[in-house]
């Protein structure tokens, strides 16, 4: 049988010895510069193939042969019946590698589309109410300091709207604890958003934009949908996980570049949640003898308002409102009209 020329190291010094490696009668034989070793094949370990790097044929005492001649070694290993590990075989076949690529991409897509929203829903449902209301109180306090001002609507209007909304029947027979508050906000313009605790903030601008109470109520049902589904928390959880993952993955890079793919990935989630809240609103409106078209009308008005630039996009992350999603408004109107 052929011999392979290679370098032998004894494990105690860095002196290389030029030797030949051969297999005779089930024993490995190393011969060369002051070296003569014979070892049974069972006691020898052969390192996995690592691309073009030398493979190592190691003896139990730490001595080893460094083999650069991969082709000859492969032939020798084949002749002795050596089997590469399953993982090494997986790595060496491009067809299997491509399968692994497909599997990884599939799993990633599954995680993103199904697993993460599912997990976020379950985790959000188990966050204690005390934590949720503490978080929401803080957020509202922050908004009150930065963006919101006391409402200038007549108290009668506010009471009438809150009272009418309070008497509406929620769908699915499940009462959703909530509280409607009115605020003025030049920077937010016509807007409404829900905090996870059930506090629904309506701006004076929105009330003025509406032609009648019903249109305001339609927007409130949509916001109640967000509260009902704990959308604020889910969005927060999903966004955090996506953000952490993208930042970690693009690790070396910078957070600015990582922000772009993260934002793209998050957009889908907020679209899904808007759709869910729209569906809830449509059910609730119909249950109370009102038309889902009321919400469509309001969406149209809000969209026109956004185009005029009367509303800014400044929003708290923990809340879910209209403006961050205006690119999808057309689609939302279409699917609401089909309801």
């Amino acid at each position: 049988m052929d011999t392979i020329s290679c370098r032998y190291f004894d494990g105690r010094s860095t002196r290389p010895r030029t030797v030949t490696l051969a297999v005779r009668d089930g024993r490995a034989i190393v011969e060369g510069d002051d070296v003569h070793r014979e070892e049974s094949l069972e006691s020898i370990r052969v390192s996995e193939r690592m691309g073009g790097a030398a493979r190592l044929v190691s003896f139990p005492d730490g001595g080893y042969c460094e083999v650069h001649d991969q082709a000859s070694l492969t032939a020798l290993l084949g002749a002795t019946g050596h089997r590469e590990s399953a993982v090494a075989r997986l790595q060496s076949r491009w067809s299997l590698v491509l399968l692994a690529v497909a599997a990884c991409l599939g799993l990633a897509a599954f995680t993103y589309i199904e697993l993460l929203p599912w997990a976020a829903r379950h985790v959000a449902a188990h966050i204690p109410d005390s934590a949720v209301s503490a978080m929401s109180t803080q957020t509202l306090a922050l908004l009150d300091r930065r963006l919101l001002e006391p409402s200038s609507l007549p108290a009668a209007t506010r009471e009438r709207l809150a009272d009418r909304f309070g008497r509406m029947v929620p769908p699915d027979g499940a009462a959703v604890p909530h509280r409607v508050v009115f605020r003025a906000s030049p920077s937010l313009g016509a807007n409404a958003f829900a905090l996870p605790s059930g506090t629904i903030v309506v701006t004076d601008g929105l009330v003025k934009l509406a032609d009648d109470d019903d249109e305001v109520l339609a927007v409130l049902t949509h916001e109640l949908g967000h509260v009902h589904g704990r959308h604020g928390l889910r969005q927060l959880l999903q966004s955090s996980v996506v953000g952490l993952f993208v930042t970690w993955y693009l690790g070396d890079v910078s957070s600015l570049v990582a922000a772009v793919p993260a934002a793209l990935l998050r957009a889908r989630y907020s679209r899904d949640l808007e759709r869910e809240a729209d569906a809830y609103a449509a059910r609730m409106l119909r249950l109370n003898g009102m038309s889902p078209r009321l919400l469509v009308t309001m969406l149209r008005k809000l969209e026109r308002g956004t185009e005029r630039g009367s509303a800014s996009e400044a929003r708290e992350d923990a809340s879910t409102g209209y403006l961050a999603n205006h690119p999808a408004t057309g689609e939302r109107i279409r699917s609401l009209e089909q309801e």
Binding site: F9, G63, Y249, L250, D252, L256
Partner: protein
Amino acid sequence: MISEHTETTEVTAAPEQLRFTGSGSEYFRIWIVNLLLTIVTFGIYSAWAKVRRLQYFYRNVQLAGSGFDYHGRPIAILKGRVIAFVLFGVANAAFDYHLLIGLLVCVPIAIVLPWLLVRSLRFRLHYTSWRGLRFGFDASVGGGYRVFLAWPLAALATLGLLWPAAHRELKAYQHDHSRFGRARFSFHATRGAFYRMYTIGSLLLLVVPLVALATSTTLAGRLATDGHRPPSATIFLASVAVGAVFYLGILVSRLYFVSRFQNIVWNNTRLENHRFSSDVPLGALAWVSLSNLVLTVATLGLFRPFAVVRMARLRVESITMIPSGSLDEFVGEQSAEVDAFGEEVGDLLDIDIAL
């Protein structure tokens, strides 16, 4: 010391540039298989994945015709990971339960952390070899508390003023106590060199935001003179431009830091009388970093293994060993095995103390 070459002074030997023989397509296959198996085994395989990954990189780093090798055992790494995971789980749960209890749990963790990091260094080097001879790390744990706890606290207390010195002490601690076989490494960089590096790095970081600020005010001024509200597209473009300038500053500063740091460390490290030199080319570093980033984003992350290989090649091949004599004369001895717990805690905390 004991190795023979120290007695024969200044035998001139040819410089040996480190070579990296890995390729992106080879590492891609290892990486994707590692990834898939790690996912389908719910992370258990990650210990085996780590060994394969490190073996690939170590064996493809060549010095004087021989590769390095990594000998860590997956089971030891897995145990370390489980313990580290449980530890952090406990800390996390404690924080969830109550902030105060979380902080209380963190105190003992902070106290044992330096000890763990010392073990991490010990593990990493103990399981690294070249030509069959193991590296080693035998520093006192007390020294670990000095560089991992006392110095960082001092740096914190002085609002970072002492951080360059603390960083220098950390590298000195690592390199002064490392050995290859019986040959000892030593570290000779001055604190001055670290202060210069941090000063220039922060200047780069500071100057660029100023430029960005100037740009934005100029733009705002021009838009205001138009007398009407600028279209939102213009505002968008302006903010993108300002953001890009900011990013450029961070990038330039980072690149400078990466290259300068590696150069300082290796130009001032010796193994007995053997020296090293490192010269990371800034232009190439910028090119590799930027193209890696663009391609990784554009390929949904699939370019990542290629990116890692390109960066490793650039950084490894920037290092040259300048031997004072033959590299065939190092000798060593067997030593006891080291457990992987510290290493895995370091990994979880994402503390990179390798280079």
